[in-house]
Symmetry: C2
Subunit: 417 residues, 2 copies
C-alpha cells in the first residue's frame, strides 16, 4: 500500500487523556482511535495487526481440533438467570439494554451459557462427544474504570474456546493440549519468552485455574515466577501449602508485575448441569457433561506486544503480527525523479513477489519519513535514495535490532520474497 | 472437514417459530442458531458462508480504492446529538445502554458520525482527499418486529463504505464506481441476474438515492422493473415526473416484490457540516466536505441467496459463497471397508490439492446422507460406493442443475483441483 493512500497520520505528542503506553503509541502512530475510555476503533494499520493476531490464534485452535462459530452480542435474560449470572450483584460488568417490548437484554461479557444453549440441539449421546468449539468475537464489559488502553476494554475482541467431554480425564487431557497451543500463540506473537503459565484461583470451578501472564510493568497483576521451571504463581493464591503442592520453593521465586493475556478454566459440570444439558452413555444412562473454557484477549495481546517490545522510538512488531513486512522509503533529494522511479519499480516488484509493503511515497522530509518509520515499527525498513542508488543498492535496516546493511538492487527481490 | 467432526446436525422439520424460508432452511441445515428474533449465531457452515460473502465484498471494495477499518458498537451520545440523530423520536432503532457513571451510550446502527469524528484528526487540506473508507462490522437496530430471518436483523453484519471528496462532481464519479462494484458483488454472490439498480427516495440527502433490489417474493419492498434497461424504480417514488426524468415508460414496467440488498446515498455536506469537519483548498480557504455512504447487508445477502436459489430439497449455494466446494459422500454398503478406504484416500488427495471438502464419513444410511447433502447444498456432490468402485469411478452431481456424471478415480483429482 502507498502511504499517501493511508488516511492516518502520525503525531508527535501522545494524547493528553491516555496514561497507558500502548494507547499512547498506537494513537500516535495512527493504529487506533479512542471512541471513549476502553472503546477503540481500529484504523487500517491497527486492523491489520488485530487480524494477524486473530489468524495466529485461529490456526492454533484449528490445529487442536477447534471448530469456529460466531455467537451474538445480544443475549436474552433467561439462560443467564438459570446459571445465576444475570443479577448485577453477581456479575457487575453487564451492559444491559432492552427490546421495544421492554424485554431485557444483556451484551455478552462471555458466552458459556449461550453456547450450551446451542449445544442442547446437538449433543444427545456419547457419540456426539468430544466437541471443541471457539469464536473470535466482540465482548462487552462495563468496567468501572478503563485506563489501560486496549489492555482492558469495555468493548474488545476475544477468542473463547469451549470443550465438552464425557469425563474429567478427557477434560484434563484437552486442557493440557490447550496449554501447548497457547504457548505457540504467544511465541508466534513475539511475547513467548516473557509469558508464564501461572497458577491462579479456580474460583467456584476447581482448586486452580491457569493464567498466561506476560511480564510487564504495565501489568495489573502480581505473580511469583520460577524462571528455571518456567512457571509462576499468582499472588492471590500464593501460600506455603500451594508452593508445596506445586513443588516450588519460595526463595526461587521472583515477584513481577504481569499482564494476563490468557486464561483457562475447568468449569466442570457447573453450567451444563444448571442449563440441563446431558448426554446418554453407552448404556443409555444420563450423564453430566464436562466443560472447559479457554480465553485469549486478542486486542489485549496487541496491547501487550506494544508494552513489551516497543522502545523509545516507537512500536516494534514481530514479523507474524506486523501490519506490513517491509516499509519502503524513498528519499528523493536533488535527483527526485530518478529515486522515485527506482522506488516505484521496487515497490511494484515487491508487490508482485507477494511481499506486503508499505511504500512511503509522500512528499515529506527524509527525517520525517525515518522518524515515522521508527514510530510505525514495521520489521524491515528499506531506504532508497540518491546515495544508495550510486551503489545500485538499497539500505536495509531491521527495526528490532537496528542492524543495517546494503543490498544490491539486482538481488533485492530475491532477498525479500 | 469430516462431517463427523461438524457438531451440527440437520433436522427434518423447520422450527415452529420461524416463518421466513431463509431462517427455516438455514436452521434445518445447521447453518445458524436463533438467539432471539432477529439475532442469530453463525454455526460452522453458516460462518463459512458469511466469511465468503465478506471476502467477495472486501475484494470489490479494495479494487475501487477502499481501505478497511473497524469502528465500535458502543457510541457516546455527544456526536449523535450534533447531527440530530440521538433522539429516539428521530432514530427509532437505537439500542441504548449506560456506563457505571450513568453516561448514556448507544449501539451503532450506522457509523457516519463516528467516522467523521475519526477523520477530524486526519483531514485538513485538499491534499488529504479523496478518502474511501469501509468496514465490515456488526450493526444493532432495535426493530419493532423481526420476522424475516437473517434478512432483517436486530444484530447483523454490514459493510459500510464512506467516501469523502472535495466536490459534488468527485462524489458523483465515485458513486458510479461503487455501482459497478456492487454489481460485481451481487454477480459473484449468484444473485446478479435478479438484482436491479433501483431509484429510491433520497430522503433528506438528495432527490434520489439508489437501492440494489433483488427480486423475491420474500421481499418487503415493491419495485417497478424495466427488464430491458435493467433498472427499476421503488414504489415509494414512482410518479409520472420521475418516470419522465428517467426516460422510462409505465407500460414497460413490471411490478415485483424485492429485497433491498444494498443502498447508496449521497449525504453531501449534511453530516460533515454538522460535525464541523472541513478542508482547506489550494488557496487555504475553508470548504465543505462531500460525503457518500454505501451499504451492503452482508448477512442479508446470505439470506437473499437462500430465498432466491434454494429449492424444495434445500439450500443451493453458488460456488464463491458455498461453505465447501465439494461434498464427498461414502456409501459403504456391504463392502464397507473397501469403500471407506477409497473415500479416505480421495478425501486426503482432495485436501492436499487444496479443494475444500466436507467428507460425510458418518455411520448413517445412504438415503440420509443424500438427503442431508441436498439440504446442505454444497455445489458439487461426489458419491463413492460399491457400485461406483466397480467402475473405478465416482458419481458426480451438480446441486444446482442436478446433472450427474461418472468420473474415473484416476482423473478425479485433476477434475476437481
Amino acid at each position: 500500500m502507498k502511504q499517501s493512500q493511508l488516511f492516518t497520520k502520525t503525531r508527535r505528542e501522545p494524547p493528553s487523556d491516555e496514561v497507558a503506553k500502548n494507547a499512547q503509541l498506537l494513537i500516535r502512530a495512527g493504529y487506533i482511535h479512542k471512541e471513549m475510555a476502553g472503546v477503540y476503533a481500529y484504523l487500517p494499520l491497527g486492523l491489520r495487526v488485530l487480524n494477524n493476531v486473530s489468524r495466529i490464534i485461529r490456526e492454533e485452535m484449528n490445529a487442536i481440533g477447534g471448530i469456529e462459530i460466531q455467537m451474538t452480542a445480544l443475549q436474552d435474560k433467561e439462560k443467564w438467570v438459570k446459571s445465576n449470572r444475570w443479577d448485577d450483584a453477581v456479575v457487575d460488568v453487564w451492559f444491559k439494554t432492552a427490546l421495544k417490548n421492554d424485554a431485557q437484554l444483556g451484551l455478552g461479557f462471555t458466552h458459556d451459557e449461550a453456547l450450551i444453549d446451542i449445544l442442547k440441539n446437538y449433543i444427545a449421546s456419547y457419540k456426539d462427544l468430544p466437541r471443541y468449539i471457539y469464536q473470535i468475537q466482540t465482548k462487552f464489559r462495563n468496567e468501572l474504570r478503563s485506563k489501560s488502553g486496549i489492555m482492558r476494554g469495555r468493548e474488545f475482541l476475544m477468542k473463547d474456546l469451549y470443550s465438552f467431554t464425557r469425563t474429567q480425564q478427557e477434560l484434563d487431557a484437552f486442557y493440557e493440549k490447550v496449554q501447548r497451543a497457547y504457548h505457540n500463540v504467544f511465541r508466534r506473537c513475539g511475547i513467548g519468552d516473557s509469558t508464564y503459565l501461572t497458577f491462579s484461583s479456580g474460583g467456584t470451578f476447581s482448586q486452580f485455574s491457569h493464567e498466561f501472564q506476560t511480564i510487564s510493568d504495565a501489568g495489573e497483576d502480581v505473580i511469583y515466577v520460577d524462571q528455571a521451571k518456567k512457571i509462576a504463581v499468582n499472588k492471590d493464591v500464593l501460600n506455603d501449602e500451594v508452593l508445596k503442592g506445586l513443588g516450588l520453593t519460595r526463595s526461587n521465586l521472583v515477584e513481577k508485575k504481569a499482564i494476563e493475556v490468557g486464561n483457562i478454566f475447568r468449569q466442570g459440570t457447573r453450567f451444563t448441569d444448571a442449563l440441563g444439558v446431558y448426554y446418554a452413555d453407552e448404556k443409555g444412562e444420563r450423564q453430566s457433561l464436562y466443560m472447559g473454557g479457554y480465553g485469549i484477549g486478542v486486542s489485549r495481546v496487541v496491547g501487550t506486544i506494544v508494552e513489551v517490545l516497543a522502545d523509545d522510538k516507537g512500536l516494534v512488531w514481530p514479523k507474524e503480527v506486523a501490519p506490513f513486512a517491509v516499509h519502503l522509503i524513498a528519499i528523493a533529494g536533488k535527483s527526485g525523479e530518478k529515486v522515485s522511479a527506482a522506488a516505484d519499480n521496487l515497490y511494484a516488484d515487491l508487490e508482485k513477489a507477494g511481499v506486503e509493503v508499505l511504500y512511503d511515497d509522500r512528499d515529506v522530509s527524509a527525517g520525517g519519513k525515518l522518524a515515522d518509520a521508527d514510530l510505525i515499527g514495521i520489521p524491515t525498513r528499506i531506504v532508497i535514495s540518491e546515495k544508495t542508488l550510486e551503489k545500485d543498492s538499497v539500505e536495509v535496516k531491521e527495526r528490532a535490532s537496528g542492524e543495517t546493511k546494503m543490498v544490491a538492487l539486482s538481488v533485492a527481490i530475491d532477498h525479500f520474497a
